[in-house]
Amino acid sequence: MSSYLLKTLTKKEEIDRIIRDTIDEVLVLRFGRCTDAVCLHHDDILAKSATDVSKFAKIALVDVDSEDVQVYVKYFDITLFPSTIFFFNAHHMKLDSGTADHTKWVGAFHIKQDFIDVVEEIYRGAMKGKMIVQCPVPPERIPKYQLLYKDV
């Protein structure tokens, strides 16, 4: 359902274009599969929040099964799905949520407000010139995962 509401990208060109054309707004890229249950839950929250954050953020979904996208899967070190990466003016924004990986948000958001808070925090930090921001979501609602160093 959410894939009809949010744009799904399957090619590197499309991802490049959306990154380059999003100016002075937060770009939220969700890397995942539309068949995965956790991704579906995550997508539902993204779709519901899209209008609320439309003034300062843009949301797009990326299908990781597409071959063209594998470059970005490797570049962004995506090993777990869904992974959400944030950009601002073609610059990657890091999020310190207390987990091992600050470059992305791994897993689904519990509630819509968490996602909106994260995007807002990233926007505020970006407007102040910060490239890494503190996650406003309480630790109990942050998904936990194990990060392997280069598959070791």
């Binding site: 060109e13 002075d24 490797k74 570049y75 003016n89 610059h91 990657h92 470059t103």
Partner: protein, 420 residues
């Protein structure tokens, strides 16, 4: 050691309108000074009106004598022009009197600023003498014309007089002979009824409007057959108004509005009418069924509006206000500015490469990076090249033959045996 402040008797300050026991110190307080400045400014404006009639003496009609009055704040006296034949004659005489001068001095000593502004609140004897001479000459000149005009207009223009008294109640001293003597060519008396004539005779509407100011004086002005001939116009009336004071005692700001083309009704409403020259009959109006002007104007522009809507983002980028609001130190600010310019150029069709380089990658800080983001990108590109090279090598190389191991000595011996 500080001396305890003496408490003086309670006094009433006329300027501040309050009781105080500060004694002579009261006049130095900033609040008192503020009130005093406004107090004196008000009186200055009143005396300016009187000075106007000092320079331009005019006859005072008996009907308006009771309305012509001034309150002198220094003497606490109301000066009413009852029984005087010229405007402000009693006021002029009062301001020139020695009693008034004495009261002014006393007031300034008690309340106020330095004594050097005494002359602002009194009239000198020399000025009064000049005024008297002017009055004498005026009285001789207009005695006959004044009587004549009174006789003619008494019966026919009663309605106009009533209107004049109702609407121009603040204009108390605008005598006809004054107008006649100073601007004989500029304005002419009203010849027609203003109400009906305004609607039915549009060619005379301008005349009617400009002459409406003169309603009150129609009774006293000599009749004229051809008002248009004498250059009736706004400019002439505007020049007349300069001679009249602007203060509320003797003249009202509304009269200027009236002069510009307004008509005052018996109810006191001031209505400004638009002359027929402004409305072009060729375009039509609501009654004729013509379309409204905004629809006509937008027909040509609607397509432009539609086109512009598609370029809203670029136009928003163009708006300098928006770029100024954004923090110049925000993340990717320089890139954003460059990108906006590129987008604008693309929209205008200046043909910059729309195609993105296939190897383009955004600024990304990798998970296991050590160093800057550029280094992480270089690292990724190296890894990418390594991935590509082994694949290409494996495709190009021949299949490897597996052979048993032969030691160096055995190889040497076989070579020697071969040679030998």
């Amino acid at each position: 050691m500080k001396k305890p402040s003496k408490k003086s008797e309670t006094e009433f300050c006329k300027v501040c309108r309050l009781h105080h026991d500060q004694g002579s110190r009261h006049k130095y307080f900033p609040r008192h000074k503020d009130f005093l400045s406004t107090f004196l400014d008000r009186f200055r404006s009143k005396i300016a009106d009187v000075r106007f009639f000092l320079k331009n003496p005019s006859v005072l009609r008996p009907e308006e004598q009771s309305q012509n009055r001034v309150w002198c704040v220094f003497c606490d006296e109301d000066i009413v022009e009852l029984g005087s034949s010229f405007a402000c004659s009693k006021a002029i005489n009062h301001f020139a009197s020695s009693d008034h001068l004495k009261n002014v001095k006393q007031f300034l000593w008690k309340n106020g600023p330095a004594m050097d502004c005494i002359d602002d609140f009194r009239i000198s004897e020399a000025d009064v003498a000049k005024w008297r001479r002017k009055c004498q000459s005026l009285g001789n000149e207009d005695a006959s014309s004044f009587k004549g005009s009174c006789g003619q207009s008494g019966t026919s223009n009663d309605i106009h007089n009533k209107l004049a008294f109702k609407t121009m109640d603040k204009i108390e001293n605008v005598p006809a002979p004054h107008i006649n003597s100073h601007h004989s060519n500029d304005v002419m008396p009203l010849q027609y009824n203003t109400n009906k004539f305004q609607i039915s005779h549009s060619e005379l509407s301008g005349v009617a409007h400009h002459a409406s100011y003169l309603n009150m004086d129609a009774s006293h002005l000599p009749l004229c057959t051809d008002p248009l001939r004498n250059g009736f116009g706004k400019d002439s009336i505007a020049s007349r108004t300069k001679d009249f004071p602007s203060n509320g005692n003797y003249c009202n700001q509304e009269d200027k509005k009236q002069i510009k083309g307004s008509y005052s009704s018996p109810d006191g409403l001031v209505v400004t009418s638009i002359s027929s020259s402004h409305s072009s009959d060729a375009c039509g109006n609501v009654h004729s069924g013509a379309p409204p002007p905004w629809l006509d104007a937008n027909d040509g522009k609607s397509s432009n509006v539609q086109l512009n809507q598609s370029d809203m983002s670029s136009f928003q980028a163009k708006i300098p206000g928006k770029t100024r609001k954004l923090n110049p130190n925000r993340v990717g600010a320089e890139w954003a500015e460059r990108r906006k310019i590129e987008i604008e150029m693309e929209k205008r069709g200046h043909g910059i490469n729309n195609k993105i380089d296939a190897d383009w990658l955004p600024n990304f800080g990798r998970v296991w990076q050590s160093g800057t983001r550029k280094e992480s990108r270089k690292e990724f590109e190296k890894e990418k090249r390594k991935l590509v090279k082994p694949e290409s090598i494996s495709i190009e190389s021949e299949p490897v033959k597996v052979q048993p191991y032969i030691s160096k000595r055995a190889r040497r011996e076989s070579v020697e045996n071969g040679c030998g």
